[in-house]
């Protein structure tokens, strides 16, 4: 678990990262209720916040490649997939923690309007893991740093729109409705709506399971990339 430990150490050592994982989520908690969404607006968009933080976290892979440390790791008795899994686990620990804090604070601020906080926490946790898988794969596959950062920044809001966070999926043309099922954000929306609807854990099996599956698929994709 050396990689896991040092990913945590390196991330938390940077004050900008600490601000990122505290300020943004806290802002989420205090946003007003939403129009159509059955949860306060902050929780409607918390998924997007998680995706952006995950994107920032994923740049570590690119950093390591540019600095040549990834090459060194490739020369050591460690598989590239192990490197990605341990990196994912370390960041997931942070994002799951952040999700827990946000949901707990949200309960304090919004009271009953934040229905089923336990289930929400689970949905956000699984989505964090999916977002990290996506981001790690993204930065493993791209060569150019600026290009990768710029495109992922543009792609995240698009995924949110397609996934039905900003408006109901049913409001989109039928082709988009079908395409939507291919992005993890769709399953985030599903999970949130079901949770707000009072679904039990069992009813959430599909969205939660699929988000974790997405994460695994992304990491596998990312580990196919040659190291040098």
């Amino acid at each position: 678990m050396t990689i896991f430990r040092f990913v945590l150490k390196r991330f938390l050592r940077n004050p900008a990262n600490i601000l990122l994982v505290t300020l943004l989520p806290i802002a989420v908690v205090f946003m007003p209720p939403s129009g159509w969404f059955p949860l306060p607006m902050g929780f409607q968009y918390f998924g997007m916040v998680l995706m952006f933080i995950a994107a920032r976290m994923g740049t570590i892979v690119m950093e390591d490649r540019i600095k040549g440390t990834l090459l060194r790791i490739g020369l050591a008795p460690v598989k590239h997939s192990q490197y990605l899994w341990q990196t994912l686990a370390a960041f997931a620990l942070i994002l799951v923690g952040v999700s827990g804090i946000v949901v707990a604070l949200g309960t304090a601020v919004h009271g009953n309007r934040l229905v089923a906080p336990g289930t929400l926490f689970l949905v956000f946790s699984c989505f964090s893991i999916a977002s990290l898988g996506f981001s790690l794969a993204w930065f493993s596959l791209f060569r150019n740093r600026e290009g990768a950062v710029a495109t992922i920044t543009g792609v995240i809001p698009l995924m949110m729109m397609l996934g039905g966070i900003m408006w109901p999926v049913q409001a989109m043309p039928s082709l988009f409705q079908r395409l939507a099922m291919l992005v993890p954000t769709y399953w985030l929306t599903k999970g949130l709506l079901s949770a707000a609807d009072g679904a039990r854990l069992l009813g959430l099996g599909l969205p939660l399971g699929l988000m974790l599956l997405y994460s695994a698929a992304f990491v596998l994709l990312g580990s196919m990339r040659r190291l040098i």
Binding site: T2, R10, K67, G68, T69, L75, A76, P77, V78
Partner: protein, 314 residues
Amino acid sequence: MVIARMSDVVKRYGTHLVLDNVSMEMGEGEIVGLLGPNGAGKTTLLYALTGLIGVDSGEIELFGRPLEDNPLETKGRIGFVTQEVSVFHDLTARENLEFFGGIYGLRGASLKQRVQQALETVGLTEYANRLPSRFSGGMSRRLNIACALVHEPELIIMDEPTVGVDPQSRRHILETVRELNRQGTTVLYTTHYMEEVQAIASRVIILDQGHIIAEGTISDLVEQIRHEERIRLEVTDVTEPLLQNLRSLEGVKGVTVEGRVVHITTQVGSGNLDRVLAAASKAGGVLWINAERPTLEDVFLTLTGKQLRDGGEE
């Protein structure tokens, strides 16, 4: 025991043939110098040898087993000093070593102790808690080397470890290599600096455009290319019998006299320096004798038609 062996290894990048039927061998305890001009394929050879990149054909054996048998276990027995300094800039020197020791499986007290020892080996103990972004070029290079030593590898591969370091750091690095070798580590050392190879290597491999064009001990190589050696002999008294004597030695091609100095041209490897000296001492007092020999640099130039170092980088 053979530590590393490549047989007929071919590696292409697209249509570019980078390793062209490379075969080589390294025995336990050797320091082999790998020389070659820029773009010769040295780094590619090292990457192929360690299994970091695949090859198009040919066989690679490490520690007596085919590379593909157990690549992870094999990697664990090798230390690789990369051509570029590749360390984490957001971790201190000590943390870098803890990281690299850790991914090679070291834990707890033995990791701590190995890290301490690696720091001492490269002379960075007092900078252990500093970030490498503040290091000088020489210090970064030394940390880069330490990261490859921390797990006590049996084979150390160094890809131009001394580029851009000050003379003092360089001496330190070469001394480190010698010391590691004395302790039994096998070393494959790539460099652009002929003096380094001459100072530490027991054997040299010269690579050019993906071919191994020469291989052997430094004196073997030098003898391979030069067929003549010039001996300059200064005596108290140049006598005709002495000159006769010298001319009659086997392998001597010419003898000329210039005051009290006799110039003798002889075949390389004829062992004539000894015989010239014997003949001269018999004839009277020898004031001075020296043999001008071609250097490894000459070998390189003759074989590749290139200077070992091209311009810029010094």
